[in-house]
Amino acid sequence: MGATTLTPTIRIQREDFDLTTEIAALSADRRDIGAVVSFTGLCRDEGGTLAALELEHYPGMAEAEIARVAAEATARWPLMGLLAIHRYGMVKPGEQIVLVIATSAHRRAAFEAADFMMDYLKTRAPFWKREHVTDGTIGGWVEAKASDDEAVERWNTGA
């Protein structure tokens, strides 16, 4: 476990975000970062009928829960920076929903931390998606996937 003085950046916002801006902010005035890994989650339309996803969240707990996950990640990997942005409100297909960036001296820690953050964020951060259909009707709530719970279990082996 390295010196974990870094404070993860966590933002829950309605507005879109810009990957380049966020990476620049994490790497500004630093010469010691060797690896930047980012994950961007987009709103995906599989059937050609999705007008938008509506993301509901639990204000306060959303920030707190992602902060708890981020604290676990910084304790587990020698990171130099960690950021998570999650949007709420209406997001159209092709638009961005979530961003995770992990920076480290070496790639392995950055890859794993970003992967870990996303697995936990999907199953623990209090957000719920509802589909809005192109005919103007409000569709159903998106159901949680067992595969997301299984993805989280990977990180607990040998713990």
């Binding site: 639990y58 707990m61 829960e65 999650h86 209090p126 957000f127 509802r130 709530w141």
Partner: protein
């Protein structure tokens, strides 16, 4: 939304807690939040769920599957058996689908 502060009222006394609901739990219950007096003997999250189910058909539908609905006490995830002692804000919601 302001963050609720934990109170330290004795568990044996009737006390008021804020309940908040999200997504389809909110829709079935028919409101986003309410203040309720915990009935005597309501010690755990599951006790609370079983009492809520008796209030009307909306609650009954929301908590039809008692272990499917997730709970948080004071904005931290908890299991159904968790104690309500010190709880001021109790949230109920479906499994999460963010990310």
């Amino acid at each position: 939304m302001t963050q609720a502060l934990a109170t330290s009222a004795p568990a044996t006394q009737a006390r008021s807690v804020r309940l908040v609901y999200f997504a389809w739990v909110r829709e079935r219950v028919g409101m986003a939040e309410e203040q309720v007096e915990l009935p005597a003997g309501t010690r755990t999250v599951l006790d609370l769920v079983r009492w809520l189910k008796t209030r009307d058909e909306g609650y009954a539908a929301a908590f039809e599957n008692e272990t499917l609905v997730r709970a948080a006490i004071n904005q931290t995830h908890v299991k159904p058996g968790a104690s309500l002692e010190g709880a001021s804000e109790i949230a109920f919601f479906p499994p999460m689908t963010g990310g």
